[in-house]
């Protein structure tokens, strides 16, 4: 059974262009990258073996870690220095990062407020993913927490969606919903995913690392 989005996806008032040039992250004994990307709408899948640096590079795009070389620009603005630009990027990390003491509803409300979209309502998405709103994140199962991170990443309808191995931990219902959502979103959003194994969604571009 396939579940589509529970409501029409809100169209962003604008599309955005993501430019990544020569992005590298250096560690004491390793160096990942370079990564080059340039797209304004569509779905990019980043492939590579474990340790190739997929997560590090995605984190560097979201400004979660400092890049060692290269540039990242969303409509010409660097997420590392521009808070508003960071607000236009929705990110689902490989490991849960939202504070565990928040409930699921509080988590997406927090992210929506931080993105300056306090009227955004994630209830329908949360219900479509079969999540209770009053469950604390640190009491949720791994899959439920991952779904909660998805709702929080979608808060405010950011123009760039970055999903790090998100499809892997979802149940069939959650995976079907997310795939259907991304199929709609790719027409006017930049969607960047990583996924090992058979990917349930066909990318527009594939970038292979390592």
């Amino acid at each position: 059974m396939t579940h589509g989005p529970s409501r029409p996806l809100a169209r962003p008032s604008e599309t955005a262009t993501l430019h990544v040039r020569g992005l590298e992250v250096h560690y004491p004994h390793a160096r990942v990258g370079p990564l080059d990307l340039a797209c304004d709408a569509g779905l990019v899948r980043i492939d590579g073996p474990n340790g190739a640096g997929k997560t590090s590079l995605l984190r560097a795009i979201t400004a979660g870690i400092r890049r060692s070389a290269g540039t990242v620009a969303l409509d010409g603005r660097d997420p590392e220095t521009c808070a508003l630009t960071r607000g236009r990027i929705g990110y689902v990390p490989a490991q849960p990062e939202l504070p565990g003491f928040l409930t699921i509803d509080e988590a997406w409300r927090l992210m929506a407020d931080l993105r300056r979209t306090p009227t955004w309502d994630g209830t329908s998405i949360r219900e479509a993913l079969d999540l209770p709103g009053d469950l604390r994140l640190d009491h949720a199962s791994t899959g439920m927490r991952r779904k909660a991170e998805v709702v929080a990443a979608l808060a405010g309808d950011p123009v760039v969606l970055i999903l790090d191995e998100t499809l892997a931990n979802l149940d069939a219902r959650g995976r079907d919903w997310l795939v259907a959502h991304l199929e709609v979103a790719r027409s006017d959003h930049v969607v960047v995913i990583t996924h090992h194994g058979a990917c349930p969604i066909e990318p527009d571009w594939i970038v292979t690392l390592g």
């Binding site: 979660g64 928040l102 409930t103 409300r109 407020d113 931080l114 306090p118 640190d138």
Partner: protein, 385 residues
């Protein structure tokens, strides 16, 4: 198996206890310079039952506040989940956790040692029981807290054997401990801008992660401040209140840093802090609002006391408040999100406490600390940008 328990529980307990212990030792040295604590304890024994009960409850809550928050994360740590699956009896389990419990109770025990051997035993039992009750959050919690207060009262040591009998039950309660807020948290999220969102998040962090501290510390502060003021002056004159309040700054002035340090833990391990779509002004504003709300009552009392003590007292309070905030913010932004250096928070708190005591001891120290606060602010700003 017990050595494994020791290795697993004692180091994290020690790491969490040290800042509190340092704070207490400095604070006690500060107070003991102007108060004859053993004489005070003796005088207290002659007071009315109501006064003794109030002090006993204050000490019990102090013990719970110092040991409970230290032990709870250890008890609930996912890394120690294996402990609860071990085929151990309740008594052996409790025995395995005793070293960590003892480390967690060090601050209260240090205070007890200053008050005399009888009080040491009483406060030791008090601390253990009260902290176990806070940690376990079991139906036994109410009984244990009541028992803790009774143990701290003169003659209450007769309750000790009963406490030992209950030790096995305490162990079971610990093993069956459930995370707080298992039900539906009854809070309302007020929608708004980024600063309001961050403040709500931080206050929820304090309330849901350190509920015992939030509840117990202000009560304990109030009781012990009364204790000091009463000892210093026979009357409740404005001068007495002012002097007592300034001493309270030296003793409990670390509260703002502790609160902000606790908030800093929220961003623990999270690149989230860097990913959040908020700028440095909003982050600092939210942090100051959260810290101010969390410690509002204590700060208000200190400001009133400091002002009553004259202009210098008021200036000191303002400068100290600034220094606390600056150091706490610096501690927060110094955290290396890529390496998760959590120790910076506890070190920052310890440094704040150390500098506070120096500042409370001399006017020159006050201005020195304020200078450090200014440097910390500049450094924070540079880092946040």
């Amino acid at each position: 198996m017990l050595p494994v328990l020791f290795r697993a529980t004692v180091p994290p307990a020690l790491a969490r206890t040290m800042p509190g212990l340092i704070a207490l030792l400095f604070a006690v040295s500060q107070v003991s310079a102007v108060v004859d604590i053993p004489a005070l304890a003796h005088e207290l024994q002659a007071r009315s039952t109501l006064v003794r009960a109030a002090v006993a409850v204050g000490i019990a809550l102090f013990g719970a506040a110092s040991a409970g928050p230290i032990l709870r994360p250890i008890v609930w740590s996912p890394r120690l989940a294996f402990v609860w699956r071990l085929p151990l009896t309740d008594a052996r389990l409790l025995f395995g956790l005793l070293p960590a419990l003892a480390v967690g109770a060090l601050p209260a025990v240090a205070l007890a040692l200053l008050l005399g051997p009888v009080a040491t035993i009483g406060i030791g039992a008090t601390t253990a029981l009260a902290s176990a009750a806070w940690i376990a959050r079991s139906p036994w919690a109410g009984v244990l807290v009541a028992l803790s207060a009774a143990t701290a009262l003169p003659g209450g040591l007769l309750v000790g054997p009963l406490a030992l009998v209950l030790a096995g039950r305490v162990g079971r309660a610990l093993r069956n401990a459930r995370p707080l807020g298992g039900g539906s948290p009854r809070t309302v999220w007020v929608r708004g801008g980024p600063v309001r969102a961050l403040v709500q998040r931080d206050l929820l962090a304090l309330w849901r992660t350190w509920p015992a501290t939030v509840v117990a510390v202000p009560v304990a502060v109030f009781a012990l401040t009364l204790f000091v003021q009463r000892a210093l002056h026979a009357s409740w004159s404005p001068a007495a209140i002012g002097t007592g309040s300034v001493i309270a700054v030296g003793v409990f002035g670390a509260l703002p840093a502790v609160a902000l340090g606790a908030i800093a833990h929220v961003e623990r391990g999270a690149q989230l802090a860097r990913v959040l779509p908020v700028g440095p002004i909003e982050r600092v504003a939210a942090l100051l609002c959260s810290g101010g709300l969390a410690i509002g009552p204590a700060v208000a009392g200190v400001i009133v006391g400091g002002t009553a003590n004259g202009t210098l007292g008021g200036v000191r309070v303002v400068l100290l408040g600034f220094a606390f905030s600056a150091l706490a913010v610096r501690t927060l932004v110094a955290r290396d999100s890529q390496r998760g250096r959590e120790d910076l928070v506890s070190h920052g708190i310890a440094a704040s406490v150390f500098l506070t005591v120096i500042a409370a001891a001399s006017p020159l120290g006050t201005f020195a600390v304020a200078g450090l606060g200014l440097a910390a602010t500049a450094s924070s700003w540079a880092r946040l940008r």
